[in-house]
């Protein structure tokens, strides 16, 4: 992490960094990609080995002398570099396999370099083709299907129940880290409002403020149940705090609208019999984790197919330098 931090380049500076590299390493073209998990330099030069040496020296100057450089850096050339770029944009080289964000990040980095005049024939062709391959991989395989984190699984389920979340209201019971992350995931996908109830009211206010929501006294959560669509519970109580009778009481006032309970507490906060109520969908942490794990396994199984597509496409495209 410390090494990655040293080389991280903010998005607004990517274009300039690519441009600076041209003169710095005597390359004809350059693109710099910097994300939380990588900093990569793509170069096209008349004398590739010399450019690579100059880049190595530049980078080495930025790390302490006692740092174990070779373990942090690697370099690829020609076909291998093209293949690597295709793997990166396809999400095969990401921490979360198949994640979609990397595609946009690489595109942004390339656009910045293009805008700064740091690219020309070779890298333009390479990147444009790599984006095409990335799209093909994502369309023709299930590499980005399913959610691989508990928060995202919960959000996907909420969308399967309520469609767009812009009309959905969420109640968070217990202001712990897990419930905060799950609630944040719901808010990021458009959930309309958040109510936070916690035994410590101050902590509820803190989390509510952070999420632009409203704090509720812990003993008043039952009255809020009448209006919300999603309940995230993670209180750390040693016994169930939401009982079937509590939900039964609110049904009439809710006009029997669907209600989604996400129980991420251990021991569970919600009595399992709550899930027997017709309009209630109850998911506990084990089920959510199992769904996330299944998605991860499904994605792993897709790697071979993705690699096959990349190899076939690279052969077909006869990219420069390959």
């Amino acid at each position: 992490m410390q090494v990655r931090e040293r080389f991280a380049i903010g998005t607004p500076k990517l274009g300039q960094a690519s441009h600076d590299l041209l003169a710095g390493v005597d390359a004809a073209e350059a693109v710099v990609i910097s994300t939380c998990n990588r900093t990569e330099f793509y170069l096209a030069a008349e004398d590739a080995d010399a450019a690579l040496d100059r880049l190595g020296s530049r980078l080495a100057a930025q790390v302490p002398e006692n740092a174990d450089l070779p373990s942090h850096f690697y370099h690829l050339q020609k076909g291998e570099a093209a293949r690597h770029l295709c793997r990166v944009v396809s999400g095969l080289d990401s921490m979360v396999l198949g994640e979609t964000e990397i595609f946009g990040q690489v595109k942004q980095a390339y656009q910045a370099a293009l805008g700064a005049g740091a690219t020309s024939g070779v890298l333009n062709r390479l990147f444009q083709r790599a984006f095409g391959v990335g799209k093909k991989v994502r369309t023709e395989t299930a590499i980005q299907e399913g959610s691989t984190s508990i928060g995202n699984v919960a959000v996907d389920l909420a969308e399967k129940i309520f469609g767009h979340l812009k009309d959905s209201e969420v109640m968070v019971l217990g202001a712990g880290e897990m419930s905060r992350l799950t609630a944040q995931a719901l808010v990021s996908r458009g959930a309309r409002s958040i109510f936070v109830a916690n035994r410590s009211y101050d902590r509820a206010v803190e989390l509510a403020t952070e999420m632009n929501g409203k704090a509720v006294k812990f003993d008043e959560w039952q009255s809020v149940l009448e209006k919300v669509d999603v309940v995230i519970s993670s209180t750390g109580a040693p016994h169930a705090i939401i009982h079937r009778a509590d939900v039964e009481k609110a049904r009439r006032a809710r006009k029997f609208r669907p209600l989604f309970f996400i129980d991420i507490a251990v021991p569970r906060d919600i009595e399992p019999t709550v899930g027997e109520i017709e309009e209630v969908y109850l998911y506990d942490i084990d089920t959510l984790e199992q769904l996330a794990e299944e998605a991860r396994v499904r994605r792993q199984k897709q790697i071979e197919e993705c690699e096959r597509i990349i190899d076939a496409e690279l052969k077909k495209l006869s990219l420069p330098g390959t």
């Binding site: 399967k160 129940i161 309520f162 006009k255 029997f256 017709e278 309009e279 969908y281």
Partner: protein, 255 residues
């Protein structure tokens, strides 16, 4: 010629439904279903135009024509509701019902081979038949949406979320909204049909049809009333929509 239009419509719906089911089974969207169904709709229209010209009136004179008109209105509402609300899967669920209705119409003896010209027709009578069968189309589609809801609800409750069908089904909320709107639309059209039925001249021996029609209307009015005033769980609403539609087909026994 009219019969060929009906056969073509049945085949198009069958192929569209089968291909849709196949793509859903493989986990992808059934994006071509709407085109197959549009083709089926045009063939149904061709059949109804030819029969209408032969009759010189609304082609609702025998059970075969009624079943085809019902299939046509079901297809019409699917085309109106499915694509705009991105419920492409609705077509996959609707196609089998259309095939069943039209296959029944094609059974020898159900469709009059040589339709006779209607000499005396009554505007209220025509309105009654046309709007009632149109209402059945909307209510049939409500039942289809109900079946889709029940499938999705069962999968969500049992945490069975891996199937291609689950991935392609629209959200619970959207199915519920579509179901409610179709019930309102069907109920409104049925009300027009019932009023027109009261105003049309009555023949002897139509008491059974009258009682069945009023019972169906009361059933739907009660369902819509409870849904609107008290509220209902999606599962009960869906079961009621499916049950009422199946029960309401009794009306055709008295045609």
């Amino acid at each position: 010629m009219d019969r060929w239009f009906l056969i073509a419509a049945t085949l198009l719906a069958a192929v569209g439904g089968a291909l849709g089911m196949l793509s859903v089974h493989h986990g992808s969207r059934s994006k071509w279903t709407v085109l197959w169904m549009a083709g089926a709709f045009l063939c149904q229209l061709g059949f109804l135009v030819l029969r209408g010209e032969a009759r010189g009136a609304c082609p609702l004179r025998d059970l075969g024509e009624i079943l085809t008109y019902l299939a046509w209105s079901l297809t019409l509402f699917y085309l109106l509701v499915g694509p705009p609300y991105r419920i492409s899967l609705l077509g996959v669920f609707t196609a089998p019902l259309i095939v069943v209705f039209q296959a029944c119409a094609l059974i020898p003896g159900i469709l009059t081979a040589h339709p006779t010209r209607v000499l005396v027709s009554n505007a209220w009578g025509e309105t009654h038949s046309a709007t009632s069968v149109l209402a059945y189309g909307a209510l049939a589609l409500a039942a289809v949406a109900g079946v889709m809801f029940l499938v999705l609800d069962k999968q969500l409750k049992a945490h069975h979320l891996k199937s291609g069908l689950f991935r392609n089904l629209p959200p619970v909320h959207e199915l519920r909204i579509s179901l409610q709107r179709l019930l309102w639309l069907g109920g409104a059209l049925l009300s027009v049909g019932i009023v027109a039925g009261f105003l049309m001249p009555h023949k002897q021996g139509t008491e059974g049809h009258f009682i069945a029609a009023v019972s169906v209307w009361l059933g739907y009015a009660l369902l819509i009333g409870i849904m609107q005033v008290r509220g209902m769980t999606g599962r009960r609403l869906s079961l009621s929509a499916v049950g009422l539609f199946i029960g309401s087909l009794v009306v055709f026994a008295f045609v």
